[in-house]
């Protein structure tokens, strides 16, 4: 199975008729068991792209095609949102079983699957806590477990760690890398953090600022599993510098525009 993002463009029209072009002719594919990272300056339409792929937004032109889609009732994609989007009235375990309830699974089966992902993301002992009782890192773990539990083919994450502190963020990057190794799913990961993109991705799609166009797709040939040692390697820095080269000018322009 693979996801074709087929010449997607998106233009927003506001009430006064003003038009904002968010995406322009974005065209790439996500292969089976591939970790694709989309990186770009803020306001480059990254979230728009993710919403379109997830079926939460209609593109102005182009389409998203799932080739060799699944035959069961499970969703093709699942999303980990930037602001967690946990249901505040549901406990950790109840949040994780949400998608399984919608699939119509039996109670015991739901719990069995949920427990598996509770363990995978390291939330044992927190099953009956409410979201407001958790730290940001914990909440994001719940969101990841909830998305994974639906057994999607493609897991999409929208700047999942931008709300976390720098230390937690680094630890969560290791976690995501490990979870990807464990689950053999395709990941689409959105970030503005270049080091994070290189550390996690098989390929990095670099978007320009608005309207978001693909500047380059960089294949990251770094050994797996990715560990802490990686960030000291020369090739890692070369990739980071390459992508920074693309993003730098874009970011500068954006800064000048703001001033």
């Amino acid at each position: 199975m693979r996801v074709l993002i087929d010449h997607i463009s998106k233009t927003y029209t506001d009430r006064k008729g003003g038009r904002t072009e968010a995406l322009q002719d974005v065209n790439f594919a996500i292969e089976e068991n591939e970790f694709v990272v989309v990186v770009g300056p803020s306001g480059c339409g990254k979230t728009t792209l993710l919403n379109i792929i997830g079926g939460l937004l209609r593109p102005s032109s182009g389409r998203v095609i799932i080739e060799g889609g699944r035959l069961d009732s499970k969703p093709h994609t699942a999303i980990v949102f930037q602001d967690f989007a946990l249901f505040p009235w549901r406990t950790v375990l109840k949040n994780i079983v949400y998608g399984l309830e919608e699939q119509g699974l039996g109670r015991s089966e739901q719990l069995e699957i949920a427990r598996k992902y509770v363990t995978m993301v390291g939330l044992q002992g927190f099953e009956n806590k409410y979201p407001h009782q958790l730290s940001g890192g914990m909440k994001q773990r719940v969101a990841i477990a909830r998305a994974l539990a639906t057994d999607p083919w493609l897991l999409m994450m929208d700047e999942p760690f931008s709300a976390l502190d720098a230390q937690t963020r680094i630890l969560m990057q290791y976690e995501v890398s490990r979870i990807w190794e464990e689950t053999h799913k395709s990941f689409l990961y959105i970030t503005h953090h270049i080091q994070e993109a290189v550390f996690l991705g098989d390929r990095v799609v670099v978007l320009s600022r608005r309207p978001g166009k693909i500047l380059d797709i960089v294949r990251i040939d770094l050994p797996r599993p990715r560990t802490e040692k990686l960030v000291n390697e020369k090739t890692y820095f070369e990739y980071v510098n390459l992508i920074w080269g693309y993003v730098k000018d874009q970011a500068k322009e954006a800064l000048e525009e703001m001033a």
Partner: protein
Amino acid sequence: MSQKKFSAPGSHELIKRPEAKKTVVQDKTYFLQVREHPWLSLTSFIVILLAWEFVSRRGWFPPLFLPAPSAILLEGWTMLKTGLIFKHVLASLSRILLGFLIACTFGVAVGILIGFFSIPEAVGNPLIAATFPIPKIAILPLLILWLGIGEPPKVAVIALGVFFPMVINVYTGVKNVDPLLIKAALSLGSNRTRIIKKVILPAVLPMVFAGMKLGIGIALLLVVAAEMVAADAGIGFMILTAADLMETKKLMVGLITLSLLGIFFNWLFQKLEHLFIPWKQ
């Protein structure tokens, strides 16, 4: 070396400048701190009651206008013993409960409908905006005309009165549901009806309780008013007849009963809120 530059922690205390003016930094938020005075609340209440008792006993006001608290209490006790008060409280309570239940059911249903779907919103919003400002007690004569003078118009006027704060609260609640939660539910496989049940309903529950708290005050007001217009039982009826017969003590018992009912309902909703909304601290 740079030893002088980096002095040991705390060493600045050693620097003595007796000539310098010293200003101690004050906590500017001091007055914002919540200070509780539980004893003050209780004693002031008792002091007022005692003053009232004193004034009445000295005969500064005739008992016909201001009976002593002790006399009112005694009257209440007699009415409890004879069971007279239960008849009136029960009559009023059954009207309130029935009207309240109808109002909550329709209020929540209509609120969700006009909050979530655009066509009901377009139809319902102007209707509500036009009927909401009418004082509900002004509709009572029309309701009596339509429904007769029995229980139905009394229940209906309470239902109408409670319906509006409920529907407006629920509508606002639906409008304020985090769209991200709806998106999350959609991406997890929910359809529209499932979203109403699993996202909208729990999300508006706090607003439903806010509406109920507003509504019970209105219900008490309306039940008394309706019973004063036409009834043969109820707290409103009891107060009115007591006034007609110059039974001021009985009238006062009615007022105290209303106060106690209000306090009871507030307490009940507080408890129910904690029970049904455990995710709010």
